[in-house]
Symmetry: C2
Subunit: 143 residues, 2 copies
DNA sequence: CTTCGAATTAGAATAATTCCAATTATTGCT
DNA sequence: AGCAATAATTGGAATTATTCTAATTCGAAG
């Protein structure tokens, strides 16, 4: 089990050759490290341009491929707000997202201790939830 | 205040000339009645082809315009699942959506009596939530 | 009945994402 | 090491939902 520290984010070189059965190629390492570095919920395009700094030859298609690989292996979460471009989030703990309408900034929002779905939703019996996305929009404080 | 019965959905002709300050043109009536008729969360395209049956001259752009008008006036809700095309829902009561992964069908899911956001989310103080979307995916019972 | 703003229309444009076919890299043999 | 098989990357084209544009039509108000 690989422990990726939340505070000091790894450079691509520091990432192991394989995580959770996903082969970490040079590009995937680059993309992953970009997502880990700034936890500002970048779009694929953001990731692309940041990756290009260290790896000028990487292509946008590859960034999409890498993000898709990371997401499907559960290393990164894909975050959607209405019809905006998808964003990517390395925070794997159970949480949801709040978007400041003024700035567009996205903040992680955690659930209160010990709450779970069935507690607040009238789910039809026998439903097995595989995926949950909660997206909030609004204003913060004095803005 | 106009009461739109949940069970017997109005034909376009039965809709008043104005709702909540929104002028109900022929097309808006048509689109609205289509969304009200089958509560199956149709996409804009679905609405378009259903509308064409009664109104062969309606255009897709108009359907988008009408849906946008209805949504922004709070008469219809726009429902998003990841990056799928938006769907439209005439159920204005507080609820969220569950998509059956097997069939793609979307079901309304209501909140349990008396729950509210602040009860289960650790919202930063001073946040004012203007929009909330909860989307679930999974399987139902024996499927 | 005319005017004027709003709504509708067809089609072009946009933008995020996916697809494709060709190249390149990596792995696992022997 | 050498080589086949497999997987990943690449650039560019294609796709697709949605939005935009400019021209036309509608409808309410005077």
């Amino acid at each position: 089990m690989i422990s990726l520290d939340a505070d000091s984010s790894p450079t691509p070189e520091e990432l192991p050759p394989e995580i959770d059965g996903l082969r970490m190629t040079k590009q995937r390492r680059e993309v992953f490290s970009v997502v880990l570095a700034e936890r500002d919920h970048p779009t694929a395009n953001d990731v692309f341009s940041r990756s290009q700094k260290r790896m000028p030859t990487i292509s946008l298609a590859t960034v999409y491929n890498c993000l898709e690989a990371l997401v499907s292996h559960g290393l990164v979460r894909q975050v959607n707000f209405e019809r905006e471009p998808s964003r990517y989030c390395p925070n794997l703990s159970d949480h949801c997202h709040f978007q400041d309408e003024k700035t567009g900034t996205i903040h992680d929002v955690v659930f209160k201790e010990g709450v779970n779905l069935a507690d607040f939703l009238e789910l039809p019996q026998g439903t097995e939830v595989s995926h949950l996305e909660i997206s909030l929009k609004g204003r913060i404080g004095s803005n």
